[in-house]
Each structure stands twice: as C-alpha cells, then as structure tokens.
C-alpha cells in the first residue's frame, strides 16, 4: 500500500469526506449504545431532541459552543503555524483567575467598560501564561507539546489552592469557589431566562477578526509561511521567532477569553470544575473546522450539539455520559483520516 499525492482535488471530495467521517462516527456510537443495552434509534432521537427540542435546549447548545469556539480558535491559530499548544485548558483557567482577580470588587466600572476590561485582562494573562513556553521553544528548543501539557496540571493545582485558600468565598458554605463577579462585569443574556450569554456573540466576532487577520494581514501571511516551511519562510525574510511569539500570544490570549466568558457569563463565579476539558476538546473543534476560523464556529456548534444532546440522551436511555467524549474523540480520528484522503490517494499495489 502506498499514498500518492493528488494533483487536483475534486470539489465534491471534501464534502464526501466530512459526511462519511461523521457517518462512521455515528455508526460507531450506535454500536456503543447497543453494547450498553439501549436502542440507538431512540438514542439519536433523544440526542437531537436534547440539542434542538426547545428554546432552552437551543440556547444550551449555544452556551456550550461558546467556550469551544474560543478554545477551538486557540488551537487552530497555533496549529496553523505548527505551534503545538496543548495547554488551552490551563490558559482558560488563567483567564478565569484574571477575571476573578479584577472582577470581584477590586475595580468597578460601568458595564460597557467593565466587560471589555475583563476580556482584555483575560487575554493578557492567558497570553502571558503561554509566552515563557514559546520563548523556551524558540531559544532553547524545549518541546512545547510537553511543557504546555504539564503546565495544565500546575495551573489547575494553583486554582485549587486559591479556591481552598485565599480566594475562597466566605459565603460559599464551605464549597471551594471564589466570590461572585460584580454585577457590572456579568455578561448579559442574549436570550432572556436562558444560559446563552454575550460570550457567544464575542466568540463569533473574534473568529471573524481572526479570519480577517489570517487572510488580509502580513502577520497572517507569515503565520502560514512559517507553518508550511519554516526554513523557506526564514530565507524570504520572515522572522520565525517573532511570528511564533505572535501566534503564541494570540493562541494563549484567546484561550484566556474562554475563561473570562465562562466565569463572567455562564457561572458568575470561579469553581474548579469550570471546564470539563474544553481545552482538549478545542483540538477536536479545530481539526474538524480544518483549522479555519469560520470552520471553527460550525464545528464548535456541531460538537456542542453532541455534548448537550448526548447528555440528554444518556439520561433518557441510561447510557454512561462518557459516550459524548467517545464521540468527540472518534471524530478527531475519522476527520484525520478524511483529511489525509483529501490530499492523497491510496494505491493498493506491491508489497503491503
């Protein structure tokens, strides 16, 4: 078996690839539902009802998509330059810490200043969390995959310390949670009396801004050049280190925004279970969106449907909730296959 690069890709092929990889994932999920002793048809019906069945469930899907758009963008921006930031989970929590530090009474502004101020702080601190690691990579050749992964553990322990110690809300009845965000910093709801908040609109706007930056600016061009071939980029006068630092600031910062949006928009205060792995799921979102900012919006919506729907389904037909994670993980793998098959054709000839 060998792979041969396609000279041209037929226009229908990416669509077929995306549809067949989603189909493969659904078939696999059906097998798992049968293993659990439930009916897949009833399961998928409950899944779609859970994600789209009412105004509330649609709002819930949007609310779940919000952090995924942020973390998906964080991964997409970095991966496009072949900078492997697997630390969005930690950077999200750093953004949440910044929100809690500035947003629980330290400073008070009117909402139209306070909300942008909190997002700015989340961005800055998220970026600062990634900055030393990109410098280590560029100047000392320290592999960023492992450092970003290990920092996730360090940061989550820091959050745990602050929530059990100095930042613990004395009115929380013993729960490890921080004081609530002041009213002027809380993100307003988009659909009243649901959990869909302003963070969703901000996430979509950021995606559009990133798309503009990537397609229309010199920085976007350098990013692609560095990701495609660093040594060629260097020879054509692009500073690889400067571009990488820019990419890291953008990627860490956007992941920090996810923390702001979850703390000030969804929960209103910081807890240790703020993110059930949004940073890692962001990698799946970025892959499924083909590392394209607008694609990330749609893939985050798709994965949010799976999460919200699978949650409702697992309660209705009594299968373990981990099914949603299995579906997301197998999506990464099936999409990966289809991305290869879009670029190459498999030739079964000669020795295997």
């Amino acid at each position: 078996m060998r792979l041969e690069a396609r000279e041209q890709t037929p226009a229908w092929l990416p669509w077929i690839a995306i549809i067949s990889s989603s189909l493969a994932t659904l078939i696999f999920a059906a097998v798992l539902i049968i293993v659990a002793g439930a009916s897949p048809i009833e399961g998928f019906y409950e899944l779609f009802r859970g994600a789209f069945g009412s105004k509330n469930s649609i709002a819930e899907t949007g609310a779940t998509a919000t952090p995924l758009i942020f973390t998906g963008l964080a991964a997409a921006v970095a991966f496009r330059a072949r900078f492997w930031n697997i630390g969005a989970e930690g950077q999200l929590y750093i953004g949440a810490l910044a929100t809690t530090f500035f947003g629980t009474g330290l400073i008070q502004f009117a909402p139209f200043i306070m909300i942008p101020f909190l997002f700015l702080m989340g961005f800055i601190f998220g970026a600062l969390a990634l900055l030393p690691l990109v410098l280590l990579r560029q100047y000392l050749k320290v592999d960023e995959v492992v450092t970003t992964l290990l920092m996730n553990f360090v940061i989550i322990l820091l959050v745990s310390y602050l929530l059990e110690g100095p930042w613990k809300d004395p009115y929380s009845l013993g729960w490890p949670q921080a004081a609530p965000i002041v009213d002027s910093g809380v993100l307003p709801q988009i659909i009243p009396r649901t959990r869909l908040h302003l963070g969703f609109a901000i996430a979509v706007s950021i995606a559009i801004v990133i798309w503009y930056v990537q397609t229309k600016t010199l920085f976007g061009f350098s990013t692609r050049a560095v990701g495609f071939n660093p040594s060629a980029a260097k020879h054509s006068g692009i500073s690889v280190t400067k571009t990488m630092i820019g990419v890291a600031i953008l990627s860490g910062g956007i992941a920090g925004l996810a923390g702001v949006s979850e703390t000030a928009g969804l929960k209103g205060y910081l807890t240790l279970d703020l993110s059930p792995g949004f940073g890692y799921t962001g990698i799946a979102v970025a892959m499924l969106g083909n590392l394209h900012p607008i694609g990330v919006i749609f893939s985050a919506m798709f994965i949010a449907v799976i999460y919200v729907g699978a949650d409702a389904m697992s309660r209705a037909i009594e299968v373990p909730t981990y099914l949603a994670d299995v579906i997301v993980a197998s999506t990464i793998l099936t999409v990966l296959v289809s991305l290869v098959l879009i670029k190459y054709r498999i030739i079964f000839k000669g020795k295997f």
Partner: protein
C-alpha cells in the same frame, strides 16, 4: 525540619516507596522510547496507560489471574499502538493530532466501559493485587533488603524490562532496524526492509509497555481503578524520554530520580503541610519535569526522522 528531610535519604522505607513510584513511569518511558527511536512520537501514552490500567484490573476482577491481566493489558496496549500506526505511519497523518486523538479515545472508551461494567458504584471494588515477595537471603540485607528486595513480582518485572529493552535496541537486528527507521528511513528502504512495518512493530511493542505501566497502578500500586488515576504520568514519561536521551539505562536513572523526588514531596507535605498548602507540593513533580526538559534540551539529539512520515518514493 531540614534534618528530618535529610534523614529520609537514609530511610529504607523511603527508597522502597521510590522504587514503587518509579515502576509505572519506567515502563511508560521505555515504551515511549521505543516508539520515538522508530521516528514516531506517541502522544497516545496517557490514554494507553489509562486503558491498560482498566483492562488489567477488569481481567482480574472478572476472575482471570494476575498474569492473564498483564497479558491482556499488553495486548490491548499493542492494539492501540497498531491503531496509532494505521493513522500516523500508514496514512502519514500528524503524529501530534493522532496521539491526542488516541489519548482522548482510549480514556473515554475506557471510562465508558467501566461505567457499563459497574453502573453505579460509589466505592470502586478491589481485587487481590500482586503481593510482596521477599527474596530469600537478599531481603535480609540491612537497608538494601527493605529498599530493593521486598517488592511485588510486577515491580521486579518492571525493572527487568530495562536490560531487556537495552538488549532489544542494541543487540538484535530488530532494534537496529527500529533505530535506523528513526534516523534514516531511506537507508532502511535501501536495505530492502519495510520502514512502515518496522515503525508499526515499534509502536505496538512500545504501546504494550505503556499499557503495562498503567496496569501496574491498578494491579500492584493500588488494587482498584479510579477515574483520572494516570494523572499526567504519561506526559511526564515523555519528558523523561528526552531527559534520558533515548537510552534505556538513563531512563531508569530518570525514573528513579523523579520517583525519589515524588516520594520526597509526599514526606515533605507531611512535615511542612502546616506552613505550605499541599497543592504546591503536588505541583513540584510537573515543574521538575519542565525544568529537567530545559536542562536536557541543550544536549538533546532527537532521532532525526522523528515526526516525519515516511512515504515511499518521496524524498526528504
């Protein structure tokens, strides 16, 4: 307090704990080392350790004996290695994304199966894990006896893996082929050997070792399966491979040093817990790994073909 901590170094129980903590890291590091020597970074390690911990435990829980548990864990690990190879070796997909995908896939399917097996258990059920074997005569040696020769069979097995992996990599044709596949795959192809096949074999052997590292947790260190019990050990093993410069005996040194530090932080927590929050002690192993990587980075010579997919007929 400083004196009390120094005394630890002369405490046989402390070194016995170090040996136990080192085992899962050691097997995982050796496994990753074999994969990377063949030119494939295996980021599936964290998930493969999780699934290894689960299937090893489950086999014994469902009535199998301990050695069957080890065998099943190794086979399941090897099949996830094969899955990794289908993506990263045969299809030439990104090794980073494949690995993260395998980690998420293996751990989520592990947790899903665990919940199907035990729908609503609040306290995880226990198995009869490997018991301590006192090696006759040797275990009576003062100090060294307690530190080195009063461990479980699985512990001795883990340490035996070091010379075995050394022998495999340096004294057998397969080991040589694995190293060439990671340094200069074109040369291997020129010898008429199949680079993709050699890399697949390396991934399967390596992943089997990773799964054994996970199984050690549920079958020797503890006797039950807990959610999130691998807790970043896989990522630490990846840092240790770099620290070890891809040499099995240096991997042993790294795992022991790291484990001694971890055992030390547990004792330090007991002594200084009143002054410093426990979270800072728990952070130390991760910070130490990052620091070790920074120091190792200068002298690091990565296998030259690491991360580069091999496509027949394409020149690199």
């Amino acid at each position: 307090m400083i004196l009390e901590l120094l005394e630890l170094l002369f405490n046989a129980g402390f070194w016995a704990a170090t040996i136990r903590i080192a085992c899962p890291l050691l097997m995982a590091t050796l496994g990753e080392l074999i994969c990377e020597r063949a030119g494939v970074l295996n980021l599936g390690i964290e998930g493969i350790m999780t699934i290894g911990a689960l299937v090893g435990w489950t086999t014994v829980y469902l009535g199998g004996d301990l050695s069957t548990g080890i065998l099943v864990a190794a086979l399941v690990g090897a099949s996830f290695g094969l899955l990794h190879a289908l993506f990263s070796v045969y299809l030439g997909a990104s090794q980073h994304v494949t690995g993260i995908g395998i980690t998420l896939f293996a751990s989520s399917i592990g947790y899903y199966s665990f919940r199907i097996l035990l729908p609503s258990s609040t306290t995880p059920p226990k198995i009869v894990a490997f018991q301590t074997i006192e090696i006759p005569v040797l275990s009576d040696i003062p100090f060294l006896g307690i530190a080195l020769f009063q461990h479980t069979t699985f512990t001795y097995f883990a340490f035996l893996m070091v010379p075995i992996v050394f022998w495999l990599m340096n004294k057998t044709p397969l080991g040589l082929a694995i190293k060439v596949a990671g340094e200069n795959p074109m040369a291997l192809e020129a010898q008429g050997l199949d680079v993709l096949f050699i890399r697949t074999i390396a991934l399967m052997i390596g992943s089997a070792l990773m799964a054994l590292g996970g199984a050690y947790l549920t079958m020797s260190a503890f006797d039950a399966f807990y959610f999130g019990m691998v807790n970043g050990r896989g990522w630490i093993a990846i840092a240790l491979v770099i620290f070890a410069s891809w040499q099995p005996f240096r991997a042993l040194l790294g795992a022991i040093l790291f484990a001694a530090f971890d055992a030390f932080q547990v004792r330090a927590q007991q002594l200084a817990g009143a002054f410093i929050a426990y979270q800072f002690f728990l952070m130390l192993p991760y910070i130490l790994s990052i620091v070790a990587m920074i120091f190792a980075a200068k002298s690091t010579h990565y296998p030259r073909a690491l991360l580069i997919p091999f496509r027949r007929g394409e020149r690199h």
